[in-house]
């Protein structure tokens, strides 16, 4: 069916504000007479606090409040409630908040910080997750067994393992016995940072008599944060108002509470509006993607059929759980790869250490697991002398197959992605060698689940002039959600796209949405918006029947026009109907609520007939050139073929693929947060932590596969996160193709590549 607005690359509805500088972000919020907050963070990764003396800071002119853990003895965390707002005697990582200050200006607040005297007893930090897992390791959280946690977290009391996720399918031991070949591999992914350009900022306006709290923040899941605050401060949810306008990039790093509990505590302490803006260094220390370790064993038959796969992963989650247990679990959905494997065993351990806190990062668990399993696939292909494409093609999940979690595959997009990406990168022959440069090609596939269960609701207000406003709590972080939602309304109601207005999030006024994460918005909120538009349509028909004086059954709705079957020459516009009904003023309210189906997993086997409402698929292929004298690597071309279900806005889809590709190149080749032996970050700034600049941009071919998601709005599903996962292994496999050297530990720096070349001189001779 041909659509008029859906499927078109209309200009984003936030773009004019963004090119003129008018778009408002949380750092731009100014409240009259607002005060300024600062936090004193721990300089140690592990310590006991002996004494805090704030007397000098309190007496400084212009200081309004000084608070410590004693003033707000609350904990928060929606996965595991393990985290104090300010430290309670114990420091578990560098960057742990200890004292909060409110002053008339940021300068005074900073001066006051220097007047605080803290006596610490420094302890040896636990920095190695494998040490932390040992039975005799000292415990970061002695009370782990008594902490509140969600249903998909499996803590092991009296250990540092805050969750142990298990997936069991078939019998791997028997299958390994019967396998013709067994291959094993070990891989790791490093600590990196999101590096969104907008820092983390929040403004709170709270009253300590009524306990009413309003917060403007950079959050991407304001309802989750509202719930965390309500539970931590014991204040009813309705008294907490979260407002989020444009978010200047998140990539998951602004999910869950960041500084919202702190700014709320500071504002409550002085009953005045307070702004808390983190410096870039503080942002680097607040949230990272944690390191991951992977051991994989695969059994195959002679013809290349994979019959068994066993995986053990260790997730170094840092001092507090954040969403680490969910990262470990979600990695389990993906770790066996998008292949038909009858016997799978996965153990994922999420482990506390005295390191930076690991949080969500664009497809959490999936990018790391994809790195490991897709690298392992090419190692197998090389050992068995099979083309890596053929090995994948033979084993890939098809329509009707059962995946590792027990869910039947419903779409066909994966194979289309595989074929399209490999075809695109192989269009012309490459020169394998040119002087000291060797060239190679590689590929990697990904499958990813979304969040379940979850809820999205939407309200459409149709004004008497026929224009519509959408109230939605999906936050616009750059992904283009507000544009897609407006396109859906324009299509469904036949209104001009330019006349659909989309709200920011305000939990007082915009209806509930679980989160803006997990690539769930186009599908889940898109469906809620579609239902709200249909609700409007239904009401219009009732009103129109009354106004025209015919039976409702005689009416049809055709792209913004209401027609009567007995009067084919006549039609009525929405504006005409609404304004006639209400007279001069009035608004129709359409409501939509969408709760996609899902089935909870079995806690011992991870099996579920529907762990996720939909799966996302993609394949990327890379062409690289390596100078064997210097180890320098150039990504010459990157092809990203991903299944959109259907592309509601093809330009937006391409933006996601292109942006993820360069992010993936940085993550793969050079980005790494480095800690010293005391657990202190040594490169918490853009000078020492390099992200790709325009000089690093590469040729990216994006291919949009449209497999039509049967229950997606206009066939659409998510795309943002899976776009990042295959880039790393595709590049790594291209290096393997060029040099016959497999590099298993990220990042693949020039130094590391050169060292591997030196060590493997004999392998290169045949190249």
């Amino acid at each position: 069916m041909a659509y008029r607005v859906v499927g078109r690359s209309v200009a984003r509805n936030d773009v004019i504000d963004k090119v003129t500088g008018r778009a408002k972000y949380a750092p731009d919020v100014v409240i009259p007479h607002m005060l300024h907050g600062k936090i004193l963070f721990s300089p140690y990764a592990s310590a006991r606090i002996i004494n805090i003396d704030t007397s000098l800071a309190k007496s400084l002119l212009g200081v309004r409040a000084v608070i410590t853990g004693k003033d707000v003895p609350y904990t928060y965390g929606s996965v595991i409630k393990d985290r104090p707002i300010f430290a309670q005697d114990v420091v578990r990582y560098q960057g742990e908040p200890i004292v909060g200050i409110v002053a008339d200006s940021e300068v005074i607040a900073e001066e006051a910080l220097n007047l605080i005297k803290i006596e610490y007893e420094e302890k040896e930090p636990i920095l190695d997750p494998f040490e932390a897992m040992k039975a005799d390791s000292s415990l970061l959280h002695a009370d782990l067994g008594s902490y509140q946690h969600n249903k998909i977290t499996y803590p092991e009391a009296e250990t540092n393992i805050c969750s142990h996720y298990k997936l069991r399918k078939g019998n791997v031991d028997d299958a390994f016995e019967k396998s013709d070949y067994i291959f094993e591999g070990e891989f790791s992914s490093q600590m990196i940072q999101h590096a969104f350009i907008e820092p983390i900022v929040a403004v709170a306006d709270a009253d300590n008599v009524t306990k009413r709290i309003t917060i403007w923040s950079t959050a991407c899941n304001p309802f989750v944060i509202r719930k965390e605050l309500s539970s931590a401060f014991n204040i009813p949810m309705g008294k907490i108002r979260m407002i989020v306008n444009n978010v200047g990039g998140s990539f998951g790093g602004k999910a869950y509470s960041k500084i919202e509990p702190h700014v709320a505590a500071l504002s409550l302490a002085c009953s005045a509006p307070v702004r808390l803006a983190l410096t870039r260094e503080e942002v680097f220390n607040l949230i990272v993607r944690g390191p991951g370790h992977f051991k994989i064993k695969t059994g195959l038959m002679k013809d290349g059929t994979i019959v068994a796969r066993k995986i053990e992963t260790v997730w170094d989650t840092g001092a507090y759980a954040e969403c680490g247990p969910v990262i470990a679990r979600n990695s389990g959905h993906t770790a066996a790869g998008p292949y038909r494997i009858p016997n799978v065993k996965i153990d994922a351990y999420c482990v506390y250490t005295n390191k930076n806190i690991a949080g969500a990062f664009r497809g959490y668990g999936v990018q790391e697991a994809t790195w490991a399993v897709e690298s392992h696939m090419d190692d197998i292909a090389r050992e068995m002398d099979i083309d890596p494409y053929d090995l994948r093609k033979k084993n890939i999940l098809h329509y009707g197959d059962e995946g590792a979690t027990g869910q039947i595959v419903e779409g066909t997009g994966l194979e289309q992605c595989l074929d399209a990406a490999w075809e695109a990168v192989n269009r012309k022959e490459i020169k394998r060698k040119s002087g000291s440069k060797l060239m190679g090609r590689g590929m990697a596939c990904v499958h990813k689940a979304t969040l379940a269960p979850s809820v999205s609701s939407a309200i459409i207000k149709l004004s008497e002039d026929g224009t519509a406003t959408l109230l939605t709590s999906t936050t616009e972080q750059g992904q283009g959600a507000t544009t897609v939602m407006a396109q859906i309304i324009a299509e469904e109601l036949g209104l001009p796209y330019e006349e659909i207005y989309v709200s920011g999030t305000d939990t007082d006024y915009t209806p509930y949405d679980t989160t803006t994460t997990a690539s769930r918005s186009t599908f889940s909120m898109g469906n809620a918006v579609l239902l709200a538009a249909r609700d409007i349509k239904e009401q219009l028909m009732i009103i129109a029947a009354e106004y025209i004086g015919v039976d409702k059954d005689e009416l049809t709705f055709e792209f913004g026009k209401i027609k009567v079957s007995s009067q084919p020459e006549k039609s009525y516009t929405i504006k005409e109907i609404v304004s006639k009904y209400y007279g001069l003023n009035g608004t129709l309210i359409g409501r939509g609520l969408y709760r996609p189906d899902s089935v909870p997993e079995d806690s011992e086997t991870g099996q579920s007939t529907k762990i996720t409402p939909f799966w996302m698929y993609g394949t990327q292929a890379a062409e690289v050139e390596i100078d064997i004298e210097t180890g320098e690597i150039n990504v010459l071309k990157l092809v990203a073929a991903h299944d959109m279900g259907s592309a509601i806005n093809p330009m937006n889809c391409r933006q996601q693929l292109e942006g993820a590709a360069l992010q993936g190149i940085g993550n793969t080749l050079y980005e790494e947060i480095k800690l010293n032996d005391k657990g202190i970050t040594v490169n918490p700034n853009f000078h020492d932590y390099k992200i790709p600049t325009a000089m690093d941009s590469v040729e990216i071919e994006s291919i949009l596969i449209e497999s039509q998601q049967k229950d997606g709005p206009y066939g659409a599903k998510g795309v943002g996160e899976p776009a990042l996962a295959p880039t790393g292994p595709a590049i790594r496999n291209a290096i393997l193709d060029a040099l016959n050297i497999g590099l298993n530990h990220l990042p693949l720096t020039q130094e590391k590549i050169l060292a591997a070349i030196e060590e493997n001189k004999e392998k290169l001779e045949g190249c």
């Binding site: 350009i197 820092p199 978010v247 600049t693």
Partner: protein
């Protein structure tokens, strides 16, 4: 200690008394209320705070307000005139060069400083011209295309 400065911002003459230690970024945002200039790092590494000072793209977070005395400043708010987008802004819209948008004002101003100096830059010169403006969303592909396109439009308009 305060000091009197006199400068031009987006064509308007401004006289002000400023603390000697405040940055131009702080003056533009907190004193002038021009919030289109963004702070991303505060250390001159990301370029979100880029403004044009006497024709040069400058990172205003590491530039003191007092240094701007007597100078002519252009911020993102000074680019569109009478409700019309500047050709660079227009090209960013048309080419889909914008995602979260936080780096965009700074990037557009770096592009303007480049095109004012070099009306027909090569792709390499464009990349160099915006190498100091970090963007984590776009991969720069469409930003580069948009600058190329606007260079053509600006040349034609001459």
């Amino acid at each position: 200690m305060k000091k009197s400065i006199s400068l031009t911002i987006n064509g308007t003459k401004v006289d002000a008394e400023v603390d000697q230690n405040i940055t131009l970024l702080s003056f533009i945002r907190d004193e002038m209320g021009l919030m289109g200039t963004k702070e991303g790092c505060g250390t001159g590494d990301c370029g979100a705070c880029t403004v044009i000072i006497d024709g040069l793209a400058v990172k205003s977070c590491i530039y003191l307000a007092v240094e701007a005395d007597g100078k002519e400043i252009t911020t993102i708010e000074g680019l569109s005139i009478d409700g019309e987008l500047h050709p660079i802004q227009q090209a960013f819209v048309e080419e889909g060069a914008v995602q979260c948008g936080f780096c965009i004002p700074g990037t557009i101003l770096s592009a303007k400083a480049l095109l004012d100096e070099n009306e027909d830059p090569t792709e390499e010169e464009i990349k160099k011209g915006i190498a100091g403006n970090l963007c984590r969303c776009t991969g720069y592909v469409r930003i580069i295309k948009a600058i190329k396109k606007s260079a053509k439009v600006l040349q034609k308009a001459k």
